[in-house]
């Protein structure tokens, strides 16, 4: 019976997130416009200036658009994951987060379910983006769309957990702008989403090293390899370990006796 309680709760949390998402079509369009602008405008403009050498997982020379597509799928996960988790700040101020946290289940389980729910929403958006990219003739092997599924889930969970950890000590929604400037943008630009590591190494070894250790880079590489039917073991374990670390920190942050909730005035 207890197991059924857990399953029903997760089912409800995921279902609610999907329902909310369906009611917010503007959010869906906005989440898609961002990567599409990068793909159709930015990548087209930079195509001639940024030549990409043959690097794994690619077996031939590719256009810049093809290179940045996995990075832009990662961008959807990054923005959406962070936004969903940070909307918990709003939910907490408005109260609906309280309803979740007073449910008679362990807090780590409730937070993990919430994370899973927001990852499913990101996943939908990422697949729609990959579909549009396919129509734009960025066409990885068909099997890649299957392989990329677990990669997108793992990457989405990791980025969502990071957002959740941040949300546990952000007091007000206004601080989201700070998160954009200090977390999302540096993570995105200092990653392999837009340029390969060797390109970055040519201009700055320090930046290349930072990009290498950036969890978002590893998430993007995991997606990139999976999309081309390959498994990047290093990126997988790096993303998995980062997910666990952020999840533990987020649960700690939301633990009333240990984390940041303790010091917050409600």
């Amino acid at each position: 019976m207890r197991l059924m309680h857990y399953l029903r709760a997760t089912n409800a949390i995921v279902g609610r997130e999907l329902l909310r998402f369906l009611h917010q079509r503007g959010r869906f369009v906005a989440a898609l416009v961002r990567p599409l602008v990068w793909l159709f405008i930015f990548a087209a403009g930079f195509r001639s200036t940024l030549g990409i050498a043959v690097i794994p997982p690619y077996e031939t020379y590719i256009l810049y658009e093809e290179y940045i597509t996995p990075g832009l799928a990662g961008m959807i996960l990054l923005f959406n994951g962070m936004q969903s988790s940070l909307s918990m700040v709003y939910d907490r101020e408005m109260g609906s987060m309280r309803i979740l946290l007073v449910a008679p289940l362990p807090r780590w389980y409730l937070l993990s379910s919430k994370l899973l729910a927001s990852t499913f929403v990101s996943l939908l958006q990422a697949y729609v983006f990959l579909g549009i990219a396919w129509a734009y003739e960025i066409q990885p092997p068909p099997v890649g769309y299957l392989y990329v599924f677990p990669a997108l889930i793992l990457a989405g969970l990791m980025l969502g957990a990071m957002g959740m950890f941040l949300s546990s000590f952000i007091k007000q929604l206004e601080n989201f702008a700070g998160v954009m400037n200090f977390v999302i943008f540096p993570m995105f630009f200092l990653s392999t989403a837009l340029y390969p590591l060797w390109r970055l190494q040519e201009s700055s070894k320090l930046l290349a090293r930072l990009a290498q250790y950036n969890p978002f880079s590893q998430a993007v590489e995991l997606i990139r390899f999976a999309l081309y039917g390959q498994f990047n073991r290093y990126a997988f374990f790096y993303t998995l370990v980062t997910l666990l670390v952020f999840l533990v920190l987020a649960v700690w942050g939301y633990n009333p006796s240990k984390g940041m909730m303790k010091r917050r005035k409600g």
Partner: protein, 246 residues
């Protein structure tokens, strides 16, 4: 088996150096409506956050239907229904969708949830509102839905944190009457936080909280006698004024 819906024993809490609650102790019996009366900033919401485990209470003990909310949080929270001060319904979802979500969080099956939702909506005289979006409901009806939600899993303790905020006078009166009836008929222990004295019934147990400490406790008439005044309004004024001057 405990005979109390809620037991709060020697609970203190501070935000940094600022004390919000100081050695607070009281009980709520099943079938009894207990009013937690205090001005804004008295510590009512902090106390609610501690009872619901949104905050941790490092000192003292809080037991819900006999379960310590630190040692057995899941069992304690299973017997608790809460109506928070802030609205907590999803405006874009329907009444039934909001209620089903809560039912699932409490582990109820679809069939159980459907039956309980129908029962509660019937009791609140709003069976036709199942498919109405929350956004389309008035403030009074939204509060009713929140109460229905808090009662879905048949808790032994119902917490209401200033539930009449933003309601017009008839809606307030109806809500006060409904919750009192609920306590008597269903045997639920109710803890109702408010700063409005007209929400108190003569038979209520009253706790006057001010600046984090309990200033008076007892049935309404007992509190009036303790302060040697004639009305509860005067008693409240004296109790909160004295404390401020002290």
């Amino acid at each position: 088996m405990t005979s109390f819906a809620l037991e709060v024993e020697c609970v203190s809490f501070a935000y940094g150096k600022k004390k919000a609650l100081d050695d607070v102790s009281f009980t709520v019996k099943p079938g009894q409506c207990t009013i937690l009366l205090g001005p804004n900033g008295a510590g009512k919401s902090t106390l609610f956050a501690l009872i619901t485990r949104l905050y941790d209470s490092p000192t003292g003990q809080i037991r819900i239907a006999g379960f310590d909310n630190r040692k057995q949080p899941c069992k304690a929270l299973a017997d608790l229904g809460v109506v928070f001060q802030q609205p907590t319904l999803d405006l874009d979802l329907t009444v039934a969708q909001n209620l089903k979500y809560h039912a699932a969080l409490h582990g109820m099956s679809r069939r159980q949830a459907k039956r309980r939702i129908e029962e509660e909506l019937e009791r609140l005289e709003m069976p036709d509102y199942r498919t109405s979006k929350i956004r389309s409901l008035s403030g009074g009806y939204r509060r009713r839905v929140e109460i229905a939600r808090a009662l879905l899993h048949q808790p032994k303790l119902l917490l209401l944190d200033e539930p009449t905020v933003g309601l017009d006078i008839p809606s307030r009166q109806a809500l006060v009457a409904y919750v009192h009836q609920l306590a008597w008929k269903q045997g639920i222990g109710v803890l109702w936080a408010t700063h409005l004295i007209d929400e108190i019934e003569p038979s209520d147990e009253l706790i006057v909280l001010h600046q984090g400490t309990i200033r008076a406790r007892g049935i309404v008439n007992e509190v009036i006698e303790q302060v040697s005044v004639t009305t509860i309004g005067e008693a409240f004024q004296v109790l909160t004024e004295e404390a401020t001057c002290a």
